[in-house]
């Protein structure tokens, strides 16, 4: 049993509070080993209800009734506790499984061949809340290691210094993929915990100058250079996304 098991099980059973839940979901999105462990623990518990029902069927009811102290016989009523738990678990699993399936489909590039990668990122960014990345507080060594890993995958030289942005705190960096191309994600939070992502997609795109747009609540600023697409995205005014992008464009 690993240290994470207890939290994973609480997630499976829909017993984690909101903060820990979103933090764990973010970790799961970035950690394939952790996801496998989640699946294993979830599947291990799947046959439990049926097995316990089987045990219930073995109860020697006639003998037990006979031993009752002259109680009046009543028709048995099934308490809803188990059914409720199954429903709750099913809903969480359904939502999370759907999210995982969508995530897996996205990471294997299955979400529509013509879909702009920035659209895919924007759709996922809508799920993130102020609680998603804020709990992550890496030290300098971890930040450097994560950036080095991501940088190697997308072919860019990434260091804590080169990706540092004013008013934003680095929380994590991880790898996804879109249409078979590596997609690096660097997640920051502003002082309120609101997430800002800097994404690098090694998609062999032709050079394109910086441009910006709004999608719903999100501002996007993107450019392409050196065979890589770059994107800054977050809940902020468009001008700020452009300013951040301009800083990164000079350094990355």
């Amino acid at each position: 049993m690993t240290d994470d098991d207890a939290e994973l099980v609480a997630l499976i059973d829909n017993e984690l509070d909101e903060t820990r839940r979103t933090a764990l979901l973010a970790r799961l999105a970035a950690d394939e080993g952790l996801r496998r462990r989640y699946q294993a623990l979830r599947e291990a518990g799947a046959p439990l209800a049926a097995s316990f029902d089987e045990l219930l069927r073995q109860a020697p009811l006639a003998r037990l009734r006979a031993a009752l102290p002259a109680a009046e016989p009543r028709s048995s009523s099934r308490f809803g506790g188990l059914a409720l738990r199954e429903l709750a678990a099913g809903v969480v699993i359904g939502i999370f499984a759907a999210g995982l399936v969508a995530w897996a489909a996205w990471s294997f590039g299955l979400l529509g061949g013509r879909e702009d990668w920035r659209t895919a990122v924007a759709e996922y960014a809508h799920l993130y809340t102020d609680d998603t990345f804020a709990p992550l507080k890496p030290d300098h060594a971890l930040e450097a290691a994560q950036l080095s890993f991501v940088g190697a995958k997308v072919g860019a030289d990434l260091t804590p210094e080169s990706v540092a942005l004013p008013g934003l705190r680095f929380t994590t960096a991880f790898m996804l993929s879109h249409e078979g191309h590596p997609l690096g994600v660097i997640a920051y939070v502003d002082p309120t915990g609101a997430p800002v992502l800097f994404c690098i997609h090694a998609n062999h795109a032709a050079d394109a100058p910086l441009r910006s747009e709004r999608r719903g609540d999100l501002s996007l600023a993107s450019w392409s250079r050196g065979g890589r697409g770059h994107l800054v995205i977050g809940h902020m005014p468009e001008e700020r996304a452009v300013a951040l992008a301009q800083m990164l464009e000079k350094r990355v």
């Binding site: 207890a6 623990l41 046959p47 097995s51 316990f52 506790g81």
Partner: protein, 163 residues
């Protein structure tokens, strides 16, 4: 209040019998002890019916009585008498001598549950078999919720090894 209490307790006994027996079997791992434990629980419940608050869950109340009798009377007596615990292998899937006919998956799972330490076994039953929330299980056992989480995780991890 007394009359309502007694009425609700009596009405709640028969519908709870099978589940009380299941709980007793998971705790004691012995079918004869389970029978006795259920009977003792029903007697104690009627004796103490005045203490039951009408409108609350009688099944949970009965479970608490069963657990108390197991811990404070039967279990401790067995230890005192030096019998310890008959290491009844596969107590949940055999009837003394012969294998109870059941489906293969349930049988494998029940054997695995049977091998869990008592605390994990009991927690897995109450949470996954009886639908206790983590908070309810923590209150029932008088332990922190973190302990419930660890026990469930250990139980699931043991079951995961079945594959």
């Amino acid at each position: 209040m007394s009359e309502a209490s007694r009425r609700e307790v009596r009405a709640g006994l028969e519908p709870s019998l099978a589940r009380l027996w299941r709980y007793a079997l998971v705790l004691s791992r012995a079918r004869d002890v389970a029978d006795d434990l259920v009977q003792a629980t029903c007697l104690r419940a009627i004796e103490r019916a005045d203490q039951f608050v009408p409108g609350t869950r009688v099944d949970r109340w009965l479970f608490a009585i069963l657990r108390s009798i197991w811990l404070n009377e039967i279990r401790s007596r067995r230890i005192r008498e030096g019998g310890g615990f008959v290491d009844a292998a596969d107590a949940l899937t055999t009837d003394g001598a012969r294998e109870i006919e059941t489906n293969i998956t349930a049988s494998a799972v029940l054997r695995a549950i049977d091998r869990l330490p008592e605390a994990q076994r009991e927690t897995v039953l109450l949470v996954y078999g009886e639908g206790y929330s983590y908070a309810e299980a923590a209150a029932a056992f008088g332990v922190p919720i973190g302990t419930i989480m660890s026990r469930l995780a250990a139980g699931r991890a043991a079951l995961a090894k079945l594959k």
